[in-house]
Symmetry: C2
Subunit: 180 residues, 2 copies
C-alpha cells in the first residue's frame, strides 16, 4: 500500500487529535489518562518531543502519527523513545511497522544510539510481536504496572534496540564521544 511519512504540521492537529483521543480513551495501550485534554495531548505529542511525524495515504489523508524524543535527560539522552498511533480504520496495513522503521532512521540522523519503549502493555501481543520482529528485545517486565481499562492490573514490558554500537565510530559532530 502506498504511504508517505512526513513531518507533522500544525495544520494536521485537527485531524490527529481525534485519533489520539480515541486511542487513549480506550485505555488498553497507553498510560495517558483516558480523559486527557487536548492541550495535554498536544504538549505530549507535539511540544515536548524532538520531532513528530504523520503517515498519509496517496490522497494525503492522515492514517497515523508518531513522535521521537530523548528517553532520559543528560547522560541518558543518547537513547530515544517513540510513541506510535494508527487510526482505527487503517490498522492491519503495516503502518506501525512502517513508522517504526522510519523512526529508527530518523533516530540515527538525530544522533541517537538506541531506542527504548518504556511501557509496552503485555496484553498488547500484536505490538510485542511487531517490535520483536523489528529487532527489539524485551529487556524488562514491570509487574502489574498498567491499569488496563477492561483487564485490570497487567504487566508492562520494557523493550530496547541498539541502533549504533557503543564502539562504532561516530561523526565528528557527535556529542557522544566518550565511548569506552
Amino acid at each position: 500500500m502506498f504511504h508517505e511519512i512526513r513531518t507533522l504540521r500544525q495544520s494536521d492537529w485537527p485531524t490527529i487529535w481525534p485519533i489520539l483521543r480515541a486511542t487513549f480513551a480506550a485505555g488498553d495501550t497507553y498510560t495517558f489518562p483516558p480523559d486527557i485534554s487536548e492541550s495535554e495531548t498536544h504538549k505530549a505529542w507535539v511540544e515536548t518531543p524532538r520531532a513528530s511525524f504523520v503517515v498519509c495515504d496517496e490522497s494525503g489523508a492522515i492514517l497515523g502519527t508518531y513522535f521521537i524524543k530523548p528517553n532520559q535527560p543528560g547522560l541518558g539522552d543518547h537513547v530515544c523513545n517513540c510513541g506510535y498511533v494508527v487510526a482505527p480504520q487503517a490498522q492491519g496495513r503495516g503502518l506501525a511497522a512502517a513508522m517504526c522503521e522510519h523512526s529508527q532512521r530518523i533516530a540515527l540522523e538525530l544522533g541517537f544510539r538506541a531506542m527504548q519503549f518504556n511501557f509496552v502493555v503485555a496484553t498488547n501481543e500484536r505490538a510485542v510481536r511487531l517490535w520483536e520482529r523489528l529487532g527489539f528485545a524485551v529487556v524488562g517486565r514491570l509487574p502489574g504496572a498498567f491499569r488496563h481499562q477492561t483487564l485490570g492490573f497487567v504487566d508492562a514490558l520494557v523493550m530496547f534496540k541498539t541502533l549504533a554500537p557503543a564502539d562504532a565510530g561516530s561523526g565528528s559532530d557527535s556529542v557522544f564521544g566518550n565511548g569506552a
Copy 2:
C-alpha cells in the same frame, strides 16, 4: 545514628542545591546533565514531584533529600518513582536506606501500590545491593543506556518493588478500584 526525616521546606533549598549540584556534576549516578541549572534542578526535585523530604541530624543539619512522584501518568500512576541523594560527608551511615524505607511508607500513604527505579546505574554496585536488600528486584537491564563520565557507556537497571498486592483490599477512597 539519630536522624529525622521531614518534609522539604523552601528555606531548605540553599542547603540542598549544592548537595544535588555536586552529585549530578559527578555524572556517575543520575542522568541529569552534569551542568544542570539550579532552576531545572528545583523543578525536577521540588516542583514536579508529588512530595519531597530531607533527612537531618540531631542539630537539624540536612544530610540528604529525596522526592516521590508517579512514574507514569494516568493508567500507570499507581507506581511511584523516587530519587535519593545523600551529602558526600554523610555517606555510609545508612541514610539512603532510611530514606528509602521512609519513602515506601509515604508511598502507601499516598495510595501508590509499587515503586520503580527506572535507571539504576549498573556500576553503582553499592546502590544495587542496597535496593535488593530493601526488597527491590532487578526487572530490567538497559544496555549501554548511561554515559558514565569516567567509564563511558554502561548498563542501567530497572528495579521494582510491589508494596501492595494487586488483589489486596483497597480503601474506599482509593482511585485504583479496578482490581482484577
